[in-house]
Symmetry: C2
């Protein structure tokens, strides 16, 4: 399956404009043969939009989800995107995966919130592993800071995730995460990791781009620069299986020794 | 505390010669101000020595431990080294830390054995975390493949390890571990990691060198090439504490979500 990584900050504060950017990117991605388009954390609304987070938050099956389902169906590819999710009075930092048929396949609420800004605006989710089947791969969802915790990604590997999709809002000076940690996560868990970032300055934050798709061999198959960009790479289910045979980390674990982690 | 990384394969099969190499390196390390010298996995005997492993294995308080204690005392620095440990009929792949006063501070038995060669010759240890206090740091011991399991290193971080000492016998084509994974382990656990490798061809194996000391910022402070080499870097307890404040991975963990790991 070909995956398109949409490295973009869209138009912070305007859902309408961001849906247009997503529509246009989905067209280009589909034309390039992609089966999945991934957009960054909070792409639907913008990230550093303060109290507008609560105002713009929508249910997982809200109008914007319908709009994404519509554009996914028109272009014939699945779409994963970050957005603020409203559930009654509670707001989550969420990511949703919608199929090429417009079906909502999975919705994930960020479990590891980063810093004061996120703790002020979001409630953390409580479900570590959210998955769906797509393109012959078990696809898992995670958001930004979540992936920096090795326990979290390991839980996905143990649950069979072969492609971890990670919308992110990665800031200066944490380039190390995109450059080094993402390939290591892919290698140590024998999976693909698609890490898709925002770019440029937004409020107090400066996003560093460097969106990456790394494979189970630790090799980055796509790596964006610091500007808005649509980059592509392929994920092959057979390569995940072969790599897990060659590099048996998951078999060689000794769970009885890890008791202090929980 | 200054740490000297002895990247060397010594003389496989000759304990006497390897003690001479260790003695000479301890002299150079002490002269450069080091408080700790670290030698690779199985340095005392060689690694690819087949059934000689069982013949040369010694108790943790055997003659060779006395010889290491003697040279540590003469040069006035602590020494960590890998060796095959005999305990009755059982042989472990072990690493021992001996103080500048000649006291055996800690002895660790490798818990995650790598491949058929190691499973044929060793019994795995059952204690995940072995530590000692040295130079103002809590020092942990681990061996080679152990460090590739993020759960294992996390257990050390949770137990307070500030400097993880990892004698290794890292083979081609796994350079990725030295180059990328070691800095990531240091960063994600907010600790120093001293990874000290063998070099060159030995039996069926080709060791890749690249010994590394990485800090809690993910930066490699020392990195050897592919040849025999003695490299130095400093580990600062105050920097560990400051880095953990700035980058609160250990506080931000959500242990309740990691149940599937154990």
């Amino acid at each position: 399956m070909r995956i398109a990584l949409l490295q973009s900050s869209g138009r912070p504060g305007s859902v309408v404009e961001n849906l247009k950017v997503l529509d246009e990117a989905a067209g280009r991605a589909a034309a390039a043969g992609a089966g999945l388009l991934v957009a960054p954390e909070m792409f639907l609304t913008g990230y550093a939009i303060g109290d507008d987070i609560a105002h713009l938050a929508e249910p997982a099956d809200g109008d914007s989800a319908d709009a994404v389902a519509d554009l996914a169906g028109r272009h014939g590819l699945a779409v994963a995107y970050g957005y603020p999710e409203r559930d009654g009075e509670t707001v989550y930092n969420s990511a949703q995966l919608i199929s090429a048929d417009g079906v909502r396949l999975a919705n994930y609420r960020k479990t590891h919130l980063f810093g004061c800004f996120e703790r002020d605006h979001f409630t953390p989710g409580d479900q570590a592993v959210v998955q769906a089947e797509l393109g012959g791969l078990t696809v898992g969802l995670m958001i930004c800071y979540d992936v920096e915790f090795p326990e979290n990604v390991r839980a996905h590997a143990l649950a069979g995730t072969g492609l971890l999709v990670v919308p992110t809002a990665q800031m200066h000076p944490f380039q190390f995460v995109a450059e080094s940690m993402i390939p290591v996560r892919a290698f140590e868990n024998q999976m693909y990791v698609a890490y898709v970032n925002r770019v440029g300055r937004e409020g107090e934050f400066e996003f560093v781009g460097l969106s990456t798709l790394a494979g189970p061999d630790g090799v980055a198959r796509a790596r964006a620069g610091r500007e808005e960009e649509l980059v592509f790479a392929d994920a092959d289910p057979a390569f995940v299986a072969a790599s897990r045979e060659a590099n048996p980390y998951l078999k060689d674990r000794r769970p009885g020794l890890y008791g202090s982690l929980v």
